[in-house]
């Protein structure tokens, strides 16, 4: 069922990671992602992966939930992993026609797999430990310098908040409409691509109609609660950097330095 997808859902808690400022989390996430790709040998990759795992442990969120979010893109991981086996050079282990499995290929595959997995893991940490509002608030603040170029930062952030709020609602609705049309004999599981696309029309039209109705209602509800854009707005949760952010920052600066040192002292396994 569509509604079983729980990608990036906020899990309330009081861990060190939960208490970090959303802006710090977003910036650190970006830096970690960069360093995942900076790492070019097993030593440095291990360092950044273990550091990420440590963060996961600190969040005190069941590892099963992380696995679940990983499951969604498992196919991508496996696919790119396998694909990479056949690229690369070095000692040839197995050969059949043009297909060759080489030492470099296997290394590539392992690297790509670990990199993507770590990336998903650490991104999940951000979405699991940061409430949607904090997240969009953080993005809004980080992007606020763009206001000089007349970018509507507040409006963008509000759109994100609403999108995050209504994605699950619309997924559930899709599920309901699909069931209703199936009950009228809609066949969505068989036939060629054109037939399948056509079978979606009875689902998409009601979905659009109901989205507009919801948007109308929501706009009215927001008006009732005196929404008037970003001007003069305050926030209940004020973002401020705290000890948790300093600890995280220092920790990852050490990790990043370690990655660079490992890259220098050990030979590169991948290009």
């Amino acid at each position: 069922m569509v509604r079983d997808i729980t990608l990036g859902q906020y899990m309330p808690g009081r861990s060190l990671v939960h208490r970090m400022d959303a802006r710090a989390k977003i910036l650190l996430l970006l830096a970690i992602i960069v360093f995942i790709f900076v790492a070019v040998n097993y030593m440095s990759l291990m360092l950044i992966t273990l550091a990420s795992m440590l963060v996961v442990l600190i969040t005190r969120i069941s590892f099963r939930l992380y696995l679940k979010s990983m499951k969604v893109i498992l196919l991508v991981i496996v696919f790119t992993g396998i694909l990479n086996i056949f690229y690369g050079s070095g000692q040839v282990y197995w050969e059949w026609g043009v297909i060759r499995i080489t030492e470099g290929g296997i290394n590539n595959a392992i690297f790509v797999t670990i990199r993507i997995a770590t990336l998903v893991l650490i991104s999940s940490v951000l979405t699991f430990t940061t409430s949607p509002t904090d997240l969009t608030d953080g993005i809004e603040r980080l992007l606020s310098p763009l206001k000089i170029f007349h970018v509507k930062v507040h409006e963008l952030a509000m759109m994100m908040t609403i999108a995050l709020r209504f994605i699950p609602v619309l997924l559930e609705e899709t599920d309901k409409i699909m069931n209703a049309q199936k009950a009228r004999g809609a066949d969505m599981e068989s036939g060629g691509i054109i037939k399948r696309v056509k079978a979606l029309v009875p689902v998409l039209i009601p979905l659009f109609v109901s989205s507009f109705r919801r948007a109308n209602d929501l706009a009215m509800a927001m008006e009732c609660r005196c929404y008037n854009g970003g001007k003069g707005r305050t926030r209940m949760k004020v973002l401020h950097f705290s000890k948790a952010d300093v600890i995280a920052l220092v920790f990852f600066l050490v990790v990043f330095a370690g990655v660079i040192l490992c890259n220098i002292y050990f030979p590169a396994t991948v290009r």
């Binding site: 209703a180 009228r184 809609a186």
Partner: protein, 291 residues
């Protein structure tokens, strides 16, 4: 003869995850051909899951559902045939309308059944008549209809498939008293004319009491009662312990009886309650029965 036989079905959602929830637990019962069955139970009692199992939108983990003596999952590829025979009207069905005209929308089900055009046309018109849709509405866009008319158009879309069993989940939700009464009497009329089996799921005991032959009571994933409306409502205290509310008139009768007034606690409508009270008043000097 029973049209649907439910044998020991169980269903658990989200098995193996932390969100695991048992929706139905070893449910068995039979529905007679041509009966009007009311299904009650509060939110989360499993009644919505149950009706979705009956037309093959969900598949049970355990147990079997027999439709006219045959397991509906005997040939999973042909489950659509089961859905044509067991028509399902969901809550707020007006949200499924999508065609350019009401006529086309009602015809969507029959079209999926690959019926010849003349037959589809006839079924559409019959269905529109049963739900009280005026013929001139058929060529309008469904989105231009009023709320009550949209509801009727959507119900007609299921009736047009001419199912053996028609299931309606809260068909009157959100309608005002008059709209509700009109819709329910149209459903009743459909049932009386076609002699089909109708299943009505509702929170409103008043509505269920008025039109059902028998009532199935669901509680915590189990079927706890299946009996005539009168017999079910005479067990008012038990229903209340399940978080269900009996009609106000039945409660009044219950409380009167607890005070020693010899009224029938199975009274379901104001008229019945009224005649019970009149009966007591006419013989008010006779000794009260023991409560």
């Amino acid at each position: 003869m029973s049209v649907i036989k439910v044998k020991n079905i169980s269903l658990t959602y989200g098995k193996g995850t932390s969100f695991c929830k048992t929706a139905l637990d070893d449910v068995s019962f039979e529905i007679e051909q041509g009966e009007f069955l009311g299904i009650i139970g509060h939110t989360g009692s499993g009644k919505s899951t149950l009706v979705q199992l009956l037309n093959g939108l969900l598949r049970p983990d355990k147990g079997r559902i027999l439709l006219n003596g045959r397991d509906i999952w005997e040939k999973p590829k042909q489950i659509r045939q089961v859905r044509f025979k067991v028509g399902m009207v969901f809550q707020y069905p007006e949200y499924q309308l999508f065609e350019e005209t009401v006529r086309k929308d009602i015809a969507y089900g029959p079209k999926n059944m690959d019926l010849p055009p003349e037959e589809i046309e006839k079924k559409v018109e019959d269905a529109a008549r049963f739900t009280g849709l005026r013929p001139e509405l058929l060529d309008k866009s469904p989105f231009d209809l009023s709320g009550g008319e949209k509801r009727r158009a959507a119900i007609a879309g299921v009736i047009a498939m001419d199912p053996d069993v028609l299931i309606l989940d809260e068909p009157a939700a959100g309608l005002d008293p008059l709209g509700r009464d009109a819709l329910l009497s149209e459903i009743k009329n459909y049932h009386d004319t076609r002699r089909n089996t109708v299943l009505l799921v509702s929170h409103s005991m008043e509505d269920i009491a008025r039109i059902s032959d028998r009532i199935l009571v669901m509680n915590k994933g189990k079927n706890v009662m299946l009996d005539s409306a009168k017999a079910v409502f005479s067990r008012g205290r038990e229903l209340e312990s399940m978080g269900l509310r009996v009609p106000q008139i039945t409660r009044i009768m219950m409380l009167l009886r607890e005070k020693g007034i010899p009224v029938d606690t199975g009274a379901l409508t104001v008229e019945q309650g009224f005649s019970e009270v009149l009966g007591c008043l006419s013989q008010k000097h006779s000794a009260p029965v023991r409560p």
